[in-house]
């Protein structure tokens, strides 16, 4: 029922002029109000789980993040603290404000035509965590010490590389602890792949690491080729390496731009996107799509190189090296960037090994593990490239490693172009792929690390189990170890330097 502006309700006295009867909806103390069934007053969950569950359900709780179960009784309105100005400024009356607030119901989230009472602060604030803690680590994290507070860097945040939620426990500016919450992009790809043909699996696996989707496809295709014992023609292998290294350059260039963006510099991201657009248009010429390429097939690739691709590639290669140096110099010679990244988020090499970190983040700690050298696949044994390694393990080292990797990738692309053999681009396979029952694991070196796929075949045309191992998942797991002790301002520098892609993390 709609309420009048000054809180008067039909049949009930106006608030400021008459004494308030206890037990009426206008009572200040929420405990005195009648427990209304249904919508009104359902927002404060008072006792017990069952009542809370019913109240929460009735009040239109929208999700696990906002479930208000088990919360203690909402505190009654406390009298205002002594006003430092002496009298209330500007005729401001806190009681009237609260009364006005109480008289102004808010539209329910499910349907704005339903009006809910705004009777307590329970509506405005949500306890952290919104459910009772169950594990040891949760209990340790969610207990506040002296002078500590929680800051929720929520799923929507300009700097979190997608939907990542970091619950920071801060003591002033210093981060004491962090609980990364992921899963906001969990799309159920593994389950969908269990119900898809092997061809469709390649398409489904693209949007995981959407920035470097060819590597994700490559890991899947590599595993299937092991499972089905398929020989890939040499030209197809060279095309795979060529396109993948191009995408590695694009991914690392984007990384540099995003790292700068998270540290506050807006210019490098524009340069990165120019580079990335060029590379991606090149790949669109042969694959047909700008981002989710769906290009690799079991036994080869989908289409051969064509004139448009070669001309765009030639244009790009003619200025790639200089452009890379220019883009890197934009940041390397920037004192603010270097001082914000040097010495920040140092990853100890033993900790990195134990955390399962791979890729550039591990090589920045001094361990030279690159799947292309450790367990070579495709034609990498024939190609001449270095694996850059650094010893410091801080954000600057992680950034510089990727700059080096871009240079190495350009060398690899050059060699591929020079040594590109002729021949078929895909092996001859039956249309209906039915591999023998078995298990296979294949891994490639993506821009972020080891991308692995474990596939189990049961003899039918759908994989029985399709497990994707993503490098960003392990990289992000180091965040609770890297962030504490650093200031809030370094948080984004560290998370960004690990290069997480939420699509892969959440599968």
């Amino acid at each position: 029922m709609p309420t009048r502006p000054n809180g008067a309700q039909p049949g009930k006295p106006e608030k400021p002029t008459r004494p308030v009867t206890p037990g009426s909806p206008a009572a200040k103390d929420p405990a005195e109000r009648p427990a209304a069934a249904g919508v009104r007053g359902g927002a404060h969950a008072r006792t017990g789980r069952a009542a809370a569950a019913a109240a929460a359900a009735a009040a239109g709780v929208r999700g696990g993040d906002h479930a208000r179960t088990g919360r203690a009784a909402a505190t009654p309105a406390t009298p205002a603290a002594p006003n430092p100005f002496g009298s209330t400024p500007h005729g401001h009356d806190p009681e009237a404000v609260r009364a006005r607030l109480a008289a102004m119901p808010r539209p329910s989230a499910d349907d704005p035509r339903i009006l809910l009472d705004r009777t307590s602060d329970a509506d405005l604030f949500e306890p952290i965590p919104p459910y009772p803690t169950r594990t040891e680590r949760e209990a340790e994290f969610y207990s506040l010490g002296d002078g500590e507070m929680f800051l929720n860097v929520g799923p929507q945040h300009p700097a979190t590389h997608g939907v990542l939620r970091l619950v920071l426990k801060l003591s002033g500016e210093q981060v004491m602890d962090v609980d990364p919450v992921i899963g906001y992009l969990h799309r159920g790809v593994e389950k969908i792949c269990e119900n898809s043909d092997y061809y469709h699996v390649i398409d489904q696996v693209d949007p995981l690491e959407y920035v470097s989707s060819l590597f994700q496809e490559w890991s899947a295709v590599l595993t299937f080729e092991k499972l089905m014992d398929v020989q890939v023609p040499r030209r197809a292998e060279y095309i795979r390496v060529l396109t993948a290294e191009l995408l590695r350059v694009a991914s690392h260039t984007l990384y540099m731009g995003f790292l700068a963006l998270d540290l506050g510099g807006i210019t490098p991201i524009l340069y990165s996107f120019i580079e990335r657009d060029e590379i991606v248009e090149m790949l669109a010429a042969i694959t047909g799509a700008r981002m989710l390429f769906n290009y690799y097939r079991i036994g080869g690739v989908n289409g051969d190189l064509n004139h448009e691709f070669m001309s765009r590639l030639g244009d790009w290669m003619s200025r790639a090296a200089k452009q890379t140096e220019a883009n890197a110099a934009l940041l390397n010679e920037n004192e603010i960037f270097v001082r914000r990244a040097r010495g920040v988020g140092i990853m100890d090499r033993h900790m990195a090994l134990k955390m399962g970190v791979t890729g550039g983040n591990l090589r920045a700690c001094g361990i030279a593990f690159d799947v292309r050298r450790a367990h070579p696949y495709s034609v990498y044994p024939e190609l001449d490239f270095n694996v850059p390694t650094r010893q410091e393990g801080d954000s600057l080292a992680r950034y510089l490693i990727r700059v080096d990797e871009v240079r190495e990738s350009i060398r690899i692309i050059d060699q591929c172009l020079h040594n590109m053999p002729d021949g078929p681009i895909i092996a001859k396979l039956p249309r209906l792929l039915r591999p023998r029952p078995g298990r296979a694991w294949g891994a490639v070196e993506g821009p972020r690390g080891l991308m692995g796929v474990y596939a189990i075949s049961d003899g039918s045309d759908q994989p029985f189990r399709f497990r994707i191992h993503d490098p960003s998942f392990m990289n992000l797991e180091t965040v609770p170890h890297l962030l504490p002790g650093n200031l809030l301002a370094d948080t984004m520098a560290i998370v960004s330097s690990l290069d997480p892609i939420m699509g892969g993390i959440d599968k």
Partner: protein, 238 residues
């Protein structure tokens, strides 16, 4: 060894679909959807299944609650409606999007905002980080059930007038994740959508075309903001 209905392909039930006729483009009539599909947690929503009395935001604005709500334009009765007539022309050229990139389509959105395909030509460059400062919510990327809550909260935090653009197949209809257990099959199941931009991902030129269409919609509906629909806008029986 396999358990369950692994061999079953499952023919899609071809239910006869009655599509609500599309509203004329120049005026957004609210589509009152009989509540057969979307059942919110609140059992009294939509008057427990009966069509509600308030079908226009306009009418809500005439109630006291609507009048006093600070986030709504309709708080003052007459003047914003008339002023909207002119203001919407201005707004159409300065739609500030909210940075709400969830997945892959976010990269195409960013690509649409950067140098090669520049959305700043139409005033859309400032991607605001805060929902309080933005006009358009471009939902770019798959919406999962875990993220649905925070996204709806973002939508509610945006002050009116606001518009919503569904970018990419996943937000239009669920897309390639139609068979997934954890994605919302199109964001129009939880919020009203003004422009649908299909594609996986759509090219930045497609996004720009969609945003220009949104500008056109803003101009066409100027002065009639109050008659827009609120709540989910998914058509019947989908």
């Amino acid at each position: 060894m396999a358990v369950g209905d692994r061999g079953r392909r499952g023919a899609k039930a071809q239910a006869d679909r009655q599509v609500v006729p599309a509203a004329p483009a120049h005026l957004a009539r609210p589509i009152v959807v009989p509540n057969t599909f979307w059942t919110p947690t609140n059992p009294l929503a939509y008057e427990g299944g009966r069509p509600g009395e308030i079908t226009h935001l306009h009418e809500f604005g005439e109630t006291d609650a609507g009048r006093n709500d600070d986030a709504r334009w309709g708080g003052l009765d007459v003047i914003p409606t008339k002023a909207d007539y002119v203001l919407d022309l201005i707004r159409a050229n300065s739609l500030w999007p909210l940075l709400s990139g969830l997945a892959c389509c976010a990269f195409e959105m960013m690509s649409g905002a950067t140098s090669k395909n520049d959305m700043d030509r139409w005033g859309m460059f400032p991607f605001r980080a805060s929902p309080r400062q933005s006009d358009v919510l471009i939902v770019a990327g798959t919406l999962t059930t875990k993220m649905a809550g925070p996204l709806l909260r973002l939508w509610e935090q945006m002050p009116e007038p606001k518009w919503c653009v569904a970018l990419g197949d996943c937000t239009v209809s669920g897309g390639r994740y139609k068979r997934s257990y954890s994605t919302v099959q199109g964001i129009d199941r939880i919020m009203p959508v003004d422009v649908y931009i299909p594609g996986c991902p759509p090219r930045p030129e497609g996004l720009i075309y969609g945003m220009l269409q949104l500008g056109q919609i803003v101009k066409d509906r100027r002065g009639h903001w109050a008659e827009r629909e609120i709540g989910p806008s998914v058509p019947d029986k989908i």
